[in-house]
């Protein structure tokens, strides 16, 4: 049953894969440039947009959003690398929104745990507490980071995330140009 505020339009935009309105401001050439850079990138590369502190904080946040357990998570998918590439290329215009989101996160950390300034320095349960509060109280800034995390986790690997297709493996998706029946359990006949 629909929960409050969940409208048909929300749903339709979700199923249409509006991956994230936050990532919808790119231009064609930038998308290609991002893909080329991502292909050439390696773990030793310099960060293009994110500062070391931002990288540390985003690493901790994304590792809570998509934790590593018996299956790979955001770290293995190189989600923060994806964010950096995107912000340097096709999602340039999202940089202020990213900075605002990280500022909000720092405020929440300080509000919950006076004296603390770093999300990454918190313990596991403390981090979850902060994220739940963030999600519940500021959907917009939380959505910026959540949206970029999901996009980095499950988008085409050529943009630098979903490294080794770990996101797709996690959900059981296979990118293949052709399929033949049976497609699923119920059409096995």
């Amino acid at each position: 049953m629909p929960d409050a505020g969940f409208t048909r339009r929300d749903f339709m935009s979700a199923v249409a894969g509006a991956a994230a309105t936050t990532w919808a401001s790119a231009s064609w050439s930038d998308v290609h440039a991002a893909a080329a850079q991502a292909a050439a990138a390696s773990a030793q590369d310099k960060w293009q947009v994110l500062t070391p502190v931002q990288v540390r904080e985003l690493d901790a946040v994304t590792a809570q959003l998509v934790p590593t357990d018996d299956q790979p998570g955001a770290r293995e998918a190189h989600v923060v690398r994806f964010m950096d590439h995107s912000l340097a290329t096709f999602a340039k215009e999202e940089k202020p929104a990213f900075e605002a989101a990280l500022k909000k996160l720092a405020e929440l950390v300080a509000a919950h745990y006076p004296g603390q300034t770093s999300f990454a320095a918190l313990g596991d349960e403390e981090q979850v507490t902060v994220l739940k509060d963030w999600e519940g109280t500021d959907r917009r800034t939380f959505g910026t980071i959540h949206g970029a995390t999901i996009t980095g986790m499950f988008s085409n690997p050529e943009y630098g995330g979903n490294f080794g297709k770990v996101g797709w493996k996690l959900m059981g998706f296979k990118d293949q140009f052709s399929w033949v029946p049976p497609f699923g359990y119920y059409d096995r006949g």
Binding site: A19, W168, Y186
Partner: protein
């Protein structure tokens, strides 16, 4: 757009395509190359006329399409971009309209037929005569069409054979047909099996879905490879029967048709005698060019065609071109949707294959005891892609963390929507006009929507959502995720804004799609609809286009234009 790799004509088409100078007075300028414009281009050029087609968007080919959601969502060039071309929306006249992305349309050679789902349902016979048969609901502007199903039947058949539609004749709720489908149905998917299971339990009659996707090779095009990247994407196998692959190549091969991509029309030109003389458009560099023509065909979609007529007002026609009736832009409809969603025990894998494989049309007329007007039909579909599954968590479930992560395979592969497609009533006050303040990136006034759904339609969609829930339960759903209907105030189905009719006082075009007020102006697209159908309008848009092309050819050849 500025950096798009395809500024021009794809290799292959370039060498054989006839080109015209803007100063050449061609027989027809067609505005738009989509479901209707593509048909008009092929039919009129093959009939011997000189034709220039002006398309806002780029000319992409299968080589440009890919399995990539970031590409799809980030200016793939397939659809309109609200940053460059905003829309505004308000519920009633007294409100100030706010920026809104209410209209979606294909902005590419082939138009919306490039990225659509490809459901090709014929309208039922009763659609064309509802006012006579059932009366006019209070607050609506339901009217009979000036043509009947029998008038249109040969052209529905023509769509199936000329564009390529897969299906199976014999659906008990389908109106009479003169010919079988040219191609057998696409393979049944798990969604289809479950729809059959639920429908049979409830006494309905499930049937293979008619789809504009080739189930087998046909006329030099490949059959569907079931790659799954269908809705929202261009087909890399040329199996989806977009006009890009079904009509445009033949139009070009006629040697009489030029397709001019990245050409955004800003005005239809009118002479002192009231006849149109051509159109002015922006080139890719935003230079204004006038293409002269003996006649103009507007196939720009139900929003853009109305907008262009209103922008093209003259001193003699101050309300807008072809608008002495005041009906241009009015009666806009989008179709309704009543949707329920559920999780099933086993995997469905809706991300493989075409979106829809089975339908049930038992609801084509809703039962009288509901007191509701109209009807529709159902399909079961998943529509889940990797990013869609990442973002589209079931209501109330966590959206991140360990539990969400464990649930991902089920979200991607085990969920289904029962999608009820339904009537939306025409209402005169529901209209598109020109926003008085907001301009697009070319400086043109943007379309403003004033819209409030008729009370019947909200209830009808809720009725469909409830039937959808029953269907899912009867099919053995483990868990119903949600069910809702109503608020269809936008979307890709842009219908009714230049309605056809016999009376020039109450309609914009006649049964030949000729503007009552302007003898050499024709409007052929979803705007011609008098009523919305039961969802799935594209088949009817194309049948109307084939019929219009026949009528216009006869008129032109007898000196009647």
């Amino acid at each position: 757009m500025a950096d798009h790799p395809h500024h021009g004509v794809p290799q292959g088409a370039e060498s054989q395509m006839k080109t015209y100078r803007p100063s050449d007075e061609v027989d027809f300028v067609i505005v738009g190359s989509g479901a209707a414009g593509g048909v008009m281009a092929r039919e009129l050029s093959q009939a011997g006329f000189s034709v220039v087609v002006l398309e806002q968007g780029p000319w992409l080919t299968e080589n440009d399409f890919k399995h990539d959601e970031i590409w799809r969502d980030n200016k793939s060039g397939l659809t309109n971009d609200h940053e460059l071309q905003p829309n505004t929306f308000r519920e009633k006249e007294a409100d100030t309209a706010k920026s809104s992305g209410w209209a979606q349309y294909g902005r590419v050679v082939g138009g919306g037929s490039v990225h659509f789902t490809a459901n090709y349902w014929r309208f039922p016979e009763v659609e064309f005569a509802q006012a006579t048969r059932f009366g006019v609901p209070e607050g609506s502007s339901v009217a009979d069409w000036p043509i009947t199903y029998a008038d249109l039947e040969p052209y529905y058949t023509k769509v199936e054979w000329e564009c390529g539609v897969s299906g199976l004749a014999g659906n008990p709720f389908e109106p009479p047909r003169s010919k079988p489908f040219p191609l057998p149905p696409l393979p049944i998917k798990s969604e289809g099996v479950l729809l059959e299971r639920g429908a049979r339990k409830l006494g309905y009659h499930p049937w293979p879905a008619p789809m504009a996707i080739l189930s087998q090779p046909y006329r030099g095009r490949s059959g569907c490879l079931a790659c799954g990247f269908c809705y929202g994407f261009g087909c890399e196998a040329r199996a989806k029967s977009s006009t890009l692959v079904s009509m445009i190549p033949a139009a070009v091969a006629s040697g009489r048709c030029e397709i001019r991509p990245l050409s955004y029309v800003r005005k239809i030109e009118t002479a002192a005698n009231g006849r149109v003389t051509g159109v002015t458009y922006f080139t890719r560099d935003k230079k204004e060019v006038v293409q002269r023509a003996k006649a103009v065909v507007l196939s720009a979609n139900g929003m853009e065609s109305a907008k262009l007529l209103l922008i093209s007002a003259t001193t003699a026609q101050p309300q807008g071109l072809a608008n002495s009736s005041g009906q241009v832009g009015r009666n806009i409809m989008f179709n309704g949707a009543g949707i329920a969603a559920a999780l099933f025990e086993h995997e469905i894998n809706g991300w493989k294959g075409a979106v829809v494989s089975r339908v049930t049309w038992d609801q084509v007329e809703v039962p009288k005891d509901t007191g509701l007007y109209g009807g529709g039909g159902f399909d079961f579909r998943s529509m889940m892609t990797p990013l869609g599954a990442g973002f589209n968590t079931p209501p109330g479930a966590p959206r991140w963390g360990r539990e969400w992560k464990k649930n991902l395979p089920r979200i991607l592969s085990n969920s289904i929507m029962a999608f009820g497609h339904s009537t939306q009533l025409p209402v005169s006050a529901n209209r598109v006009d020109l926003d008085p303040t907001t301009k697009d990136a070319w400086g043109l006034p943007v379309p403003r929507l004033t819209f409030k759904e008729h009370a019947n339609d909200t209830k009808l969609q809720q009725w469909f959502a409830a039937r959808g829930t029953e269907l899912l339960q009867a099919a053995g759903a483990e868990q119903i995720l949600f069910s809702f209907g109503g608020d269809s105030s936008g979307g890709p189905h842009l219908l009714g804004t230049c309605r056809m009719g016999k009376d020039p006082k109450t309609s914009v075009v006649n049964a030949d799609h000729r503007a009552h007020d302007v003898p050499n102006l024709f409007i052929v697209d979803g705007s011609s609809f008098v009523t919305s159908g039961r969802g799935q309008p594209t088949m009817t848009i194309q049948a109307l286009a084939f019929r219009a092309a026949d009528r216009i050819t006869k008129l032109a050849k007898s000196g009647g234009i």
